[in-house]
Symmetry: C2
Subunit: 408 residues, 2 copies
């Protein structure tokens, strides 16, 4: 086997979905939401290879069906349009018509075939898509000061409190390859994606099946490892486009630099996933659960998710309460093999449980990691080599406030 | 097949765990908790047939191990002792010793063999059981005004705001058979029992294997169908004792009145389960989700649990927000077969979704069922004959307050 030196990943300051060559993005207010931007677009100069993963919710919103068709068509994807405010989910025949109409309007505006455009929607379920507003919005693309990536990042948000973006660079074939992304999240993040949208762009040239694989694997390790409230939405999607503008060879899983590309890709996915978790509805802290010693990675993932999803753990973290009992309890919820007498739990560098038993700790010292912006929890099951990291957030009064009155 | 007329179930006002003949109960303050009663006992005059079901959490507290031994021994169970304040979970060897010691102390006090006594604990995980306080407490049984069922009901509570008890009567073999129970619940109720204890007594004579079956089936339809916060504890147990003092024949599943007994038993289980859900931590409302038209009862149960467990549904109900989209979303979370285009959802008698599509409804009229003490939600999947009912509660500021500071 060829030995390839691990490529260094360079994180771009203020990078995003247009950091990779040949991508442009914009956003505007078309009138679905009261004041905030609600319509965004992302376009590649040239055709791309593309891949997507979708919510596992059995109710899948109309835009997902239409995007799936675009990706399955023989024409290469080249643009994405997104609206926030209305999810176009549970909208039946009319919803599907509207999603097609949205795709058509975007395609016309940027001179592409319909099948070269993906559509996404996020917001309230059940309301009809205000398609006339969206069409009018597309008409005025370029007329205003709307062609900025910041407005794209804004336009895809719902209850998020901030935009989410990242870009990294890595050397491949002597060329600088950029991978960047933008995402929206907030409530309903679980168990497999859930009200989240993420758009990832790269100027590498990537074979489409390899791109699908890296997306699927990366999503399992990143976007599928975040939880805000255990609810999963009808509209979630992660979409990636690779346009080749960096002029690398076409990357496949056999390419000597494939692992460097995967690393860059997962860095972007992970960063977006963490930003989504940190900005969970009402959240004051990002919780990072590191599980090791599980029988398999899958077992580690499952246990990490149980911990991060526990309302009792989440409220204890909100209260900066080193209530390790709730963590131990959550470890025991699932079917994954554990041995209660081998479990170690640490809050930051304070070990609170060893071999399944509480060990004396300084209460004040154990509180410290819980008062940080990022709360690190370490679990070692001492059974095998399986590892995983899961990200979530605390459960707060503000979460209840936001969600007790979202519609009204 | 013999046709047996359905026996009428008569609910006793203020009935409880000592309504059945030959059972006595009491409680006291032994000093584990600050002021509240924290030690309870329940004794049958004569040996009983008994059965129990336990938490599915892989961390099982010491008292459960000891109780399991008592039930597996050849000596018939005749008494139960319970403490609150400390769960005796994650306490290792010492915890097991303490649980045995608690059992021994109780057995001595009431002149029974150790194996005739079951033990239960509920409260904080990880703290050692204050066994000396418990032993001193048992010494003074009968010395004070402690021999009342109300004090037993009080002594088993943790963050519950009220005691939970019920008793019903039914005619069997021309005799009046009483089934009664007491329970504690509050937080951590899910997915299979979870911080809940329930003690059910009957003066029927019941074959032990039949008793185990009725307990298991009844628990699946009642205690396992409640959710407060999706967390499941290390200490949960439902225990039933049948002492034969009503002088019926020994009931088996072939007895012509078996279904009448099952009905009475499930009535008690259901009532206790509902009281637990209604008194969930911080809850202001009981939520009752009726699912029908599922492919199987199991599918209906699973979908009912998804709805009742959704933080987004729970907060919407707290806000009396007829946010049917979240209910539809929750229906789609799991793997159970659904057809999005067939689903009907009603809030009380207001249908909000039909054939998977929202139908216009009067906002004020739809809010009304959500403002009731018991919120009824009806889901029809229109696929088969599977039905289930699940009970839960709303998610409130108070839930967050209680759980952000339980230990401290």
């Amino acid at each position: 086997m060829e030995i390839v030196e691990e490529a260094a990943i360079h994180v771009l300051e203020a990078g995003g979905v247009t950091s990779a060559k040949g991508f442009s993005a914009g956003g505007m207010h078309c009138g679905i939401r009261k004041r905030k931007d609600d319509l965004g677009w992302l376009v590649s100069e040239v055709p791309t290879s593309a891949a997507a993963v979708y919510t596992t919710n059995q109710f899948q919103a109309a835009p997902l069906q239409v995007t799936r068709e675009s990706l399955q068509s023989e024409k290469p994807l080249q643009a994405v349009c997104v609206n926030s405010g209305v999810a176009n989910a549970c909208t039946g025949e009319q919803g599907l018509k509207d999603a097609y109409e949205m795709r058509r309007a975007m395609a016309e505006k940027v001179n592409l075939a319909e099948e070269q455009v993906a559509v996404a929607s996020t917001g309230l379920i059940g309301d009809p898509l205000p398609i006339e507003k969206i069409k009018a919005g597309f008409q005025s693309i370029g007329e205003e000061n709307d062609q900025t990536v910041e407005r794209f990042e804004q336009a895809i948000l719902t209850t998020d409190t901030c935009t989410k973006h990242v870009a990294v660079q890595v050397e491949i074939d002597g060329k600088t390859v950029t991978v960047g992304g933008a995402a929206k999240g907030s409530g309903m993040i679980d168990p497999n994606m859930a009200t989240m949208l993420a758009f990832i762009t790269t100027d590498a040239s990537v074979e489409e099946s390899a791109l699908q694989n890296v997306l699927k694997q990366g999503t399992n390790r990143t976007f599928n490892m975040i939880t805000v409230d255990g609810d999963s939405s009808t509209n979630d999607m992660v979409l990636v486009m690779a346009n080749g503008k960096a002029e690398t060879e076409t990357l496949t899983e056999d390419h000597p630099s494939w692992s460097a590309f995967v690393k860059a890709f997962e860095k972007v996915s992970e960063q977006l996933a963490k930003e989504i978790a940190r900005d969970g509805e009402g959240a004051t802290k990002l919780v990072e659960v590191h599980v090791k010693g599980a029988t398999t990675d899958q077992a580690a993932r499952s246990i990490g998710k149980e911990i991060i999803s526990s309302n009792l753990v989440k409220t204890a973290i909100y209260g900066s309460d080193p209530n390790w009992g709730r963590i131990v309890c959550a470890i025991g919820y699932g079917d994954e093999p554990i041995d209660p007498e081998k479990v170690t739990v640490s809050l930051g560098d304070v070990t609170v449980v060893d071999q399944g038993l509480p060990i004396p700790f300084d209460e004040e010292k154990a509180k410290q990691p819980l008062q940080q912006e990022t709360v690190p929890i370490y679990v070692d099951l001492h059974l095998g080599d399986g590892t995983a990291t899961a990200w979530g957030c605390d459960l707060t009064y503000e979460y209840v406030r936001i969600n007790a009155a979202y519609r009204t």
